[in-house]
C-alpha cells in the first residue's frame, strides 16, 4: 500500500472573484497512500481553498486531479470526488436541526437505505476507529465542539475515503484529547489512507506528519519530507523572512502578595448543569495588571465559566465581585461596567457573519461615531480604515464578514476588544484561527494592555497558550479549579494530566 500515489493535483489555479484574490497559482501536490501530508502557510495563503478543490467542493478555474481510479479535469467536473475524498472543515457546517446520522449521510448517494443500517454503519465505524461515545441520533445543535469534531471524523470515515482532508483540526481536538488525535492519525496512515492536514501548528507537523508543503500567497514554496527540513526553515518559508520574536515577558509576583485590590473576585461560584459540565466552589481573585490564565477542556467547565463571567449564565451559588460591587447581571450592564471580552464562540457570539466588516467593528463605539443618534458617515469611514490597517484585516469595510477567513474574523474581534484602557478583559482562545505571526502580535498586544493596568482573565483551551501567556495559571477540570500559581512554576505534564482528569495529588479531585 505504501508509497503509492493516492491523489495528485496538477496546475491548479483559482481566483476568488468577489475579493480578486488569487488563492491558488499553478499549484501541484502529490499525496501518498499511508502517509500524512501537512499543508502549512499564513492566514490567506490558499490552504483552505486547495482543500476545498481537492475535496471536489469547489471548482477551480483550471487544474487536473488524478486519483487512483479516475482522472478529472477539475474545471469541468468535480462530481464523483466525494466517493474518494472526505473533507473535515475548520468550521462545522452541519445543519443544526439534523441529527448526527442525518448530517453524516447528507448529500451522498451511496447510503444504506434503512435508518437502522445507517446507524449500525455509524456505530461500526466509530468502533473501528475507537471513537465511541457518540449517539448518532443526537441533534447537531446539542453537540459541543469537541464531540462534533469526533462525529465529523466518523462521518468522514463511514464511506471509506482514500483521501482525508483535515482543515485546522487541532483547535477542536483540545489538550487532553491531543493524544487521541495522534493515535487516530497513526491509525489512518496504517490503514493505507492518504491524509492532508491543513494546519498552522508546526508542533503537529513535526510530531506526526511525513511530508510538509508550504504555501505562500497562493503558490507552493516547498514540498519536502519532514526529515529533510526543520522548524526554522519552514517558518521562514511560510513568512518569507526570519521572524523576530520578543521574549515572552512574564510578570513575576511573589507568592500571594499582590499589590492593590482585586478587580474581579469570584467567591465560591457554583453552577449545576448536565454531566461534568458544572462549576463547584470556584474562587479566584484577578488583579489589575496581571494575566490570570485558566485552562482546561471547554466542556469540563471552561465554557460555563465564560458564560458566567460574561453575564450569559446565572450562578446557583456564590458571587462575582467587580471593583467591590456585585457584577451586573445583564450583558449590556457588564459592558457599561467596562468589560471587554473576546468570546470562544467567534462567529455566534463574537461577530455577526451577515453584517459588514464595519458594522462588526464599530459595535462598542457607536456613541462616539454618532451625533444625536445620527451616524457621522465620514468619521466612521476614517475610523474603520485606520483600525483595519493597524490590525491588518484584509477585506473591504463593506464586505460581509462571512466572506472573510477565520483569521481575519478573529482580527476584527481582537481590534474591537483589545483597545484602550479597559478595566477588565476576558479573552478566550485569543490565537484562534491565527497564524504564528498574528498570534505573536496578539500576545504582545495582550501584554501591553496588562502593563497599562488592565486585569486580564485568559480562558484557554490550549494548554500551551495558557502556559505561554499567563502570569498566574490554574487548571479547571470537572468543574473544579486547581491551585493558582505562577505559570513558570507549572509542570506541563502535570497540568496536562490534571486537564485530562487524572489524579496527581495536587489540587485535583
Amino acid at each position: 500500500m505504501r508509497n503509492k500515489t493516492a491523489a495528485s493535483l496538477r496546475d491548479v489555479n483559482h481566483l476568488w472573484p468577489s475579493s480578486g484574490v488569487t488563492a491558488c497559482r499553478d499549484v501541484s501536490l502529490d499525496l501518498q497512500s499511508g502517509s500524512l501530508h501537512a499543508l502549512v502557510g499564513e492566514n490567506g495563503a490558499g490552504k483552505t481553498t486547495l482543500g476545498l478543490i481537492l475535496a471536489g467542493v469547489l471548482k477551480p478555474d483550471s487544474g487536473l486531479l488524478k486519483l487512483s481510479s479516475i482522472e478529472v479535469n477539475l474545471k469541468e467536473n468535480s462530481k464523483g470526488l466525494i466517493q474518494n475524498t472526505a473533507l473535515i472543515r475548520q468550521r462545522n457546517i452541519w445543519p443544526a436541526v439534523l441529527s448526527v446520522r442525518e448530517a453524516s449521510v447528507l448529500g451522498r448517494s451511496d447510503v444504506p437505505r434503512k435508518i437502522k443500517d445507517q446507524i449500525s454503519l455509524f456505530n461500526q465505524t466509530a468502533r473501528d476507529w475507537d471513537l465511541t461515545g457518540i449517539n448518532p441520533e443526537t441533534r447537531v445543535s446539542r453537540m459541543d465542539t469537541a464531540s462534533l469534531q469526533r462525529a465529523e471524523m466518523i462521518a468522514a470515515l463511514m464511506f471509506n475515503p482514500e483521501v482525508l482532508i483535515l482543515d485546522e483540526p487541532s483547535s477542536a481536538w483540545e489538550e487532553g484529547r491531543g493524544s487521541e488525535f495522534s493515535r487516530l492519525m497513526k491509525q489512518l496512515k496504517d490503514s493505507g489512507r492518504a491524509v492532508l492536514l491543513i494546519t498552522h501548528r508546526l508542533e503537529d507537523v513535526f510530531s506526526i506528519a511525513d511530508r510538509v508543503t508550504v504555501m505562500r500567497h497562493g503558490s507552493v514554496i516547498s514540498s519536502r519530507d519532514v526529515g529533510n527540513t526543520d522548524y526554522a526553515t519552514v517558518t521562514q518559508e511560510m513568512f518569507g523572512e526570519q521572524p523576530v520574536y520578543p521574549p515572552s515577558g512574564k510578570k513575576q509576583y511573589p507568592g500571594s502578595g499582590f499589590p492593590g485590590k482585586a478587580r474581579l473576585e469570584a467567591l465560591g461560584l457554583g453552577v449545576k448543569d448536565s454531566g461534568r459540565n458544572a462549576l463547584e466552589e470556584l474562587s479566584f481573585q484577578l488583579f489589575p495588571g496581571e494575566i490570570l490564565g485558566i485552562t482546561g477542556l471547554r466542556e469540563e467547565g471552561l465554557s460555563l465559566l465564560e458564560d458566567v463571567i460574561s453575564g450569559n449564565r446565572r450562578v446557583d451559588k456564590g458571587s462575582l465581585i467587580l471593583d467591590s460591587k456585585p457584577v451586573p447581571s445583564s450583558a449590556s450592564g457588564l459592558r457599561k461596567a467596562g468589560l471587554h471580552y473576546v468570546p470562544s464562540d467567534k462567529t455566534g457570539r463574537g461577530s455577526s457573519l451577515k453584517s459588514t466588516v464595519t458594522e462588526n467593528m464599530m459595535v462598542l463605539e457607536t456613541h462616539n461615531l454618532s451625533h444625536r443618534g445620527w451616524f457621522h458617515q465620514g468619521k466612521i469611514k476614517k475610523w474603520v480604515e485606520e483600525r483595519r490597517i493597524e490590525v491588518g484585516i484584509s477585506g473591504s469595510p463593506e464586505q460581509k464578514l462571512e466572506e472573510l477567513s477565520g483569521g481575519n474574523i478573529q482580527k476584527v474581534i481582537i481590534q474591537r476588544e483589545l483597545r484602550g484602557n479597559a478595566p477588565l478583559l476576558v479573552v478566550a482562545d485569543p490565537a484562534w484561527g491565527l497564524d504564528e505571526r498574528s498570534r505573536r502580535q496578539i500576545h504582545i498586544k495582550i501584554r501591553e494592555l496588562r502593563d497599562s493596568g488592565t486585569a486580564i482573565l485568559l480562558l484557554a483551551s490550549d494548554l500551551d497558550e495558557a502556559l505561554e501567556l499567563s502570569d498566574r495559571m490554574a487548571v479547571l477540570s470537572g468543574g473544579r479549579l486547581s491551585e493558582i500559581k505562577s505559570a513558570d512554576s507549572w509542570d506541563r505534564n502535570k497540568a496536562a494530566q490534571l486537564i485530562a482528569g487524572m489524579k496527581t495529588g495536587g489540587g485535583s479531585k
Binding site: L52, V57, L58, A96, V97, S141, S310, A331, S332, L334, R335, K336, Y341, P343, G348, R349, G350, S351, S352, L353, K354, S355, E359, V363, L364, T366, H367, S370, G373, W374, F375, Q377
Partner: protein, 339 residues
C-alpha cells in the same frame, strides 16, 4: 432553536413576475375573450384617472403595511399579527369618530389617527413584552392575539358600535370632519400617499443612518452578537414590534378613510399583504413602494379583468396565493452552494 430562518434580504420581484404570468395564462386559457381580458389585466389600473388614483391609494396603504412587516423582519422578529393590528387601528379610529363626532376638523383627524396608532402599537408591544419576559415566540403570540381581534371586531361592529340605520355589520359612516380630502376626484386618492412617503423615507433613513437603526439591524443579523456588544436586545424586541403594530394600524386607519365607514372586514388582507410585500422587497424600505405598486397593480388588474369579462371572482385569491407561494418558495429554497 428558531423555527425559521428569520432573514429576508433577498429581493424577489421574480415572484411577482411569475404570479403575473400565471394570472395571464389562466385568463388566456379560461376566458371567452382572452385578449380583452389580458388587456384589462395589464392596463386596467391605468386606463382612467380614477383607476390610477385608486391604484395609488391602495399602493400607499400597502406600503404602510409592507414597511410595518419589514421593520420587524429587520430587527429579527416575525410580526404575524398584522391582520389584528390593522383591524384594531381602524376600529380605534372609528370609535373616536363615533363618540366624538363634533370636534373640529384640525383635531378630529389627528385624534383618530393617534387612537389607531396607539391601539396597534400596544398590541405589537404586548407580543414583544411576552417574548422578553417569558421567551414566548412572537411569531405565535402575535398571530394568536391577531386571531382573537377578529371576533372582538365582529362584536364591536355588530353591537356596541353598530349603525342602527344599516343592515350591514358596520359602524355609522364617518362624519365629514373625519374624512380625508380627496386629492384627485373622482378617485379615492388622499393624503395617505403622503403618510406612506414619510414612513418610507423615515424608515430608510432610520435603518441606514441612525444608531438605533443599526442596533435593530444588528439584532436581526445576529441577536447573540448584538447582546454581547452591549445592545439591549429586549428593548428592541418591544420597540420594533410596537412600531410594526403602529404602522399596521396606520394602514388600517387608511382603510377606514378609504371606505369612509368601518364595515365588517374593512381591513382584511392588510396583514398578509404587508408580509408578502416585505418579502418581495427583501424588507428594504426603499424597495417597499415598488413592491407595493406592483402588488396593487396585480390585484387591481385581476379585478379589472374580472369585472369586464365576467371572470370568476376566485381568480383574485388565486393570484394572491401564487405570490405567496413563489415568495416563500424563494425564501426557503436552498441557495446555490457557496463557500
Amino acid at each position: 432553536m428558531m423555527p425559521l430562518k428569520r432573514k429576508s434580504y433577498s429581493v424577489s420581484f421574480t415572484a411577482l413576475a411569475a404570479a403575473f404570468l400565471l394570472a395571464l395564462l389562466t385568463i388566456a386559457i379560461l376566458s371567452g375573450n382572452p385578449w380583452k381580458a389580458m388587456g384589462y389585466m395589464l392596463a386596467g389600473p391605468f386606463l382612467s384617472p380614477m383607476a390610477l388614483g385608486n391604484l395609488l391609494e391602495s399602493t400607499a396603504r400597502l406600503t404602510l403595511a409592507g414597511i410595518a412587516a419589514s421593520l420587524a423582519f429587520r430587527a429579527g422578529l416575525f410580526n404575524l399579527g398584522g391582520e389584528g393590528q390593522a383591524l384594531a387601528g381602524g376600529l380605534a379610529a372609528a370609535a373616536v369618530a363615533l363618540y366624538f363626532p363634533e370636534i373640529p376638523r384640525v383635531l378630529a383627524l389627528p385624534a383618530a389617527l393617534a387612537a389607531g396608532l396607539l391601539a396597534g402599537s400596544l398590541i405589537g408591544a404586548f407580543s414583544g413584552f411576552l417574548r422578553v419576559m417569558w421567551g414566548v415566540d412572537e411569531l405565535i403570540s402575535s398571530f394568536l392575539i391577531a386571531a382573537s381581534m377578529g371576533p372582538v371586531g365582529h362584536v364591536l361592529l355588530n353591537n356596541v358600535m353598530k349603525d342602527p340605520e344599516s343592515y350591514l355589520i358596520a359602524a355609522p359612516p364617518l362624519t365629514d370632519n373625519y374624512r380625508l380630502a380627496a386629492l384627485w376626484p373622482p378617485s379615492r386618492l388622499t393624503a395617505v400617499l403622503l403618510w406612506a412617503l414619510i414612513v418610507t423615507v423615515g424608515s430608510f433613513l432610520f435603518l441606514k443612518f441612525t444608531r438605533r437603526g443599526y442596533e435593530w439591524r444588528l439584532r436581526g443579523a445576529n441577536e447573540r452578537f448584538a447582546r454581547y456588544g452591549g445592545i439591549k436586545t429586549g428593548s428592541i424586541a418591544i420597540a420594533s414590534l410596537s412600531v410594526s403594530g403602529a404602522l399596521y394600524a396606520a394602514a388600517g386607519t387608511a382603510a377606514l378613510m378609504d371606505g369612509g365607514q368601518a364595515v365588517q372586514g374593512f381591513t382584511a388582507g392588510l396583514g398578509w399583504d404587508g408580509l408578502a410585500i416585505a418579502l418581495i422587497a427583501g424588507s428594504r424600505p426603499e424597495l417597499i413602494p415598488l413592491a407595493a405598486i406592483s402588488y396593487s397593480w396585480l390585484l387591481q388588474g385581476t379585478r379589472a379583468a374580472m369585472m369586464h369579462t365576467g371572470f370568476p371572482f376566485a381568480l383574485s385569491g388565486m393570484v394572491q396565493a401564487t405570490v405567496f407561494l413563489f415568495v416563500t418558495a424563494r425564501r426557503f429554497s436552498l441557495k446555490r452552494g457557496r463557500i
